[in-house]
């Protein structure tokens, strides 16, 4: 069962959680089980493990000891009942939603209009191919979510800090709407990480992560995770959730809620059906890389967050910047929710709009020296991206406008370098923009 996370013990848990298992050699760090398969003790054990009546590792596609430690650690840091790791954040979102939408009659999602572009691609293209419909609504207005709910709605989906504008959702308000509508809330907690924000404490039922970002933190390995809070009661309305409540041959003629008594039927479905069938597996080596990253999670996130505030404050005072999308900047609409729900800050991924025509974006980005032009976030290095041309390029102009992304919106992911150096780099590049704008013939 999950144990509530307190801010002071997160530092300890990010290093130790998941390692309680008695490893034969007593290594102090987690061994890398770089093995595709596992030898069964005997034939009977193999039979039982395949029938899923006896726990054990069979084949790394569905479970591996190194990956299992990461799963336990992420679940622990989020205060969840359990987790399933995946090969990427994208696959985590996909299998988390497939488990809710893949069977039964409900294929409708209410989603935040401020989402990572890859998640929008998944919803409006690949899942749309399978009949999924989605309504995009404002994550700061719970009333909009209530208005968008349909009888066949089976999931709410939002980001704890929106990518790329650092939009903060009113998750407690949205969770109230979800409870009344009897719909589980899925929160992508990638940009916040549990060091800043734990969605399960704010009413979410399921948390997804791109662990590539702050959990790993060094830009060196892809990983994702699905965490179940264990709070949603699938049996309350069995007709809505046949994937959990109806007997299936696949589960030995049982329903998942009966089979998984005491454990998570949701995660069993994610792992034993979707990760198993689709093969969205995390490699043991990558799991080891992410595990090492988690050990310094709160140290890094605190530094990232403080530097981001310093950079945002600098940007808000520069004449080449039209607007800074960061809750710490005076006048930002996120200030109220930041004060209520984000006492340790709102992370280090945010955006700003250039006070210049769209064709100034390319020269501005190319004149940065320290910020690397990269389609990633949550690295020790500071990164820059142009959402309209990169991470959110497949959205229609209307979708981007609804998401508040302008042609001149620039996304930053603030790294661990000296904030003075970061400011100096931005200053020289912004001064260059000013020079061009003020002397157009040059």
């Amino acid at each position: 069962m999950s144990v509530p996370v307190t801010d002071h013990d997160l530092s300890t848990r990010q290093i130790h959680a998941g390692t309680e298992n008695d490893l034969t050699q007593r290594t102090l760090t987690v061994p890398i089980y770089q093995s595709a398969a596992f030898e069964f003790p005997d034939y009977e054990a193999a039979k039982q493990m395949f029938a899923q009546t006896r726990p054990g590792f069979t084949y790394t596609r569905t479970g591996n000891p190194t990956v299992a430690v990461l799963e336990q650690r992420i679940a622990d840091l989020e205060g969840g009942a359990g987790a399933v790791a995946t090969g990427s954040g994208q696959s985590a979102v996909a299998v988390a939603l497939l488990a809710l939408l893949g069977q039964g009659s409900g294929k409708h999602v209410v989603a935040s209009e401020k989402l990572y572009g890859g998640t929008v691609d998944l919803l409006t293209d690949s899942l749309a191919d399978l009949g999924v419909e989605v309504a995009f609504v404002d994550p700061t207005t719970p009333g909009a979510w209530a208005a968008a709910v349909r009888p066949d709605t089976r999931a709410f989906l939002l980001e704890s800090i929106g990518n790329p504008l650092a939009t903060l959702p009113d998750l407690p308000g949205i969770a109230d709407v979800a409870r009344a509508a009897r719909v589980p809330v899925v929160v992508d907690n990638t940009l916040a990480s549990p060091a800043l924000y734990r969605p399960l404490e704010k009413g979410a039922d399921i948390v997804v992560h791109s662990a590539t970002k702050f959990f790993g933190g060094h830009g060196n390995a892809l990983a994702g995770a699905v965490v179940d809070g264990g709070t949603f009661d699938w049996s309350a309305e069995p007709g809505r959730w046949p994937q959990f409540t109806a007997a299936r041959a696949r589960w030995g003629g049982q329903s998942l809620v009966d089979k998984c008594a005491g454990a998570s039927p949701y995660l069993h479905l994610v792992r034993a059906k979707y990760v198993h069938d689709l093969g969205t597996t995390l490699s043991p080596f990558n799991a080891s890389q992410i595990l090492q990253g988690t050990e310094t999670l709160d140290l890094r996130v605190a530094r990232h967050t403080a530097s981001a505030v310093a950079v945002a404050e600098f940007l808000s005072g520069h004449p080449a910047v039209a607007r800074v999308h960061h809750p710490a900047v005076p006048g930002d609409p996120g200030a109220g929710i930041a004060a209520r729900d984000f006492p340790r800050g709102t992370g280090s991924v945010f955006s700003f709009d250039l006070a210049a025509p769209g064709d100034a974006v390319g020269p501005f980005i190319d004149s940065l020296r320290l910020f690397k032009l990269v389609a990633n976030i949550g690295d020790t290095r500071s990164l820059v991206a142009h959402p309209a041309a990169m991470t959110h390029c497949r959205l229609t102009p209307e979708q981007r406008a609804a998401g508040g992304i302008a042609e001149t919106t620039i996304r930053l992911s603030i790294g661990l370098e000296s904030p003075e150096d970061l400011v100096a780099d931005l200053r020289q590049a912004l001064d260059g923009v000013l020079e061009t704008v003020q002397t157009p013939g040059k």
Partner: protein, 397 residues
């Protein structure tokens, strides 16, 4: 600290041992591949109460131990010791057995780095040496200084001239002198030659080469038999040096080396089949003055190699009729063959030893000919290799 190698009846064949020795499934989870124990230290059950014999990864680490067992089994040795590089392995062995005032008989035709280690690093610690022609047992015997010669150091096939030495003959000289015979078995690999069975007391390897086999890991190893040295097992002296001086192989590197070693026999068969074809093709080329490959019947060591090795290996050297200029041009003109030091990877490499691997002996009596090119023949399709060499030879003439 490290458990002795257990010879299992399940591991009769070379490739069976390569795949299984020291590589048993993890007892806890059944993981078919033993885990990479990426840890520096081990929790103890009480003060100095070690659960599985491991205290600190400099002393021993399960992943490294598994690789050491695997390699020792393939060399027919009692104990294996893995190091961070081939030179680190050689250094550990030499410092474990030599004392100031001792003398080494050193095969002259050998890796330049070994020569540099003995002449530049160990000489100031009063280690003397005499270089000898590895094919002249009379010269080897004459070089021995009774009472002070403690090590005979031999590399066969030699680098880069592919000379073949009589290992059993050298072993007899060592036995008569009360010295240790060390054989650098890097070129042959344990699949083609087991010097311990021919009378050597210790084998060294750059595991970077054929053992790793994929040019993705640096490493070295010492394997010893049951020899005693200064009234104690030689294995103890090397083990103490490994622990106390600490140039050990890391867990990730040990994993990669163990992974490569499992396919050694398959790779060596292809390497040497290709090398034989390349050597025979070079013989027919007018640009080539001489081909040095023990698999050619007219090689002076051919019969000896056939007797003491299971094959002739994947290294081929040749001398250019056009001299130094032609050799340099060939080395810089290949495309498939990468111009590079090192050897033994799946990919073909070409090297100009005089200025590269053996630059440390340039200008000395041990200098290698300036018209010499060395090939590490890879496992690519041999037709592609010959096409590449043909273009390069054409460019040189």
């Amino acid at each position: 600290m490290t458990q002795p190698v257990t010879t299992s009846t399940r591991h009769r064949g070379f490739t069976t041992a390569a795949v299984h020795a020291g590589q048993e499934p993890d007892p806890l989870t059944g993981a078919v591949i033993p885990p990479i124990y990426q840890t520096s230290t081990f929790a103890q059950d009480g003060i100095n109460v070690l659960r599985a014999g491991h205290e600190y990864s400099r002393g021993s680490n399960p992943t490294r131990s598994g690789f050491e067992h695997q390699l020792a089994a393939l060399e027919g040795g009692e104990r294996g010791f893995a190091f961070a590089s081939g030179i680190a392995a050689e250094d550990a062995l030499l410092r474990a057995v030599l004392r100031p005032g001792d003398h080494v008989v050193l095969g002259a035709d050998g890796y330049g780095g070994t020569n540099r280690l003995i002449t530049k690093v160990l000489a100031p610690w009063e280690i003397a040496h005499t270089p000898v022609d590895i094919t002249d047992l009379g010269a080897v015997r004459a070089a021995v200084r009774p009472g002070t010669t403690k090590v005979l150091w031999l590399e066969t096939p030699s680098n880069p001239l592919l000379g073949i030495a009589d290992v059993a003959g050298w072993a007899q000289v060592a036995a008569d002198a009360g010295a240790l015979l060390v054989v650098d078995n890097t070129f042959a690999s344990p699949y083609l030659q087991n010097p311990l069975a021919l009378g050597a007391h210790a084998v060294v390897h750059s595991t970077t080469k054929y053992i790793g086999g994929h040019s993705d890991v640096l490493g070295g190893a010492v394997v010893v038999g049951t020899a005693e040295w200064r009234d104690a097992p030689l294995a103890e002296a090397v083990g103490f040096q490994q622990f106390a001086a600490g140039a050990v192989a890391g867990p990730q590197d040990s994993y990669l080396a163990a992974r490569g070693l499992k396919t050694l026999s398959l790779r060596m068969e292809r390497h040497q089949a290709n090398a034989q074809a390349v050597a025979e093709w070079l013989l027919e080329r007018p640009e080539v003055a001489r081909v040095l490959y023990p698999g050619l019947p007219d090689h002076p060591g051919h019969a000896l190699a056939a007797a003491q090795m299971r094959g002739f290996g994947g290294m081929v050297s040749f001398r250019l009729a056009g001299g130094e200029a032609a050799a340099r041009t060939v080395a810089e003109s290949t495309e498939l063959y990468s111009l590079s030091v090192s050897l033994g990877g799946v990919e073909s490499l070409i090297c100009y030893p005089s200025e590269m691997t053996h630059a440390s002996v340039k200008g000395t009596p041990l200098a290698v000919p300036t018209d010499l090119v060395r090939l590490s023949v890879g496992i690519e399709d041999v037709e592609d290799q010959l096409d590449d060499l043909e273009r390069a030879l054409a460019a040189s003439s």
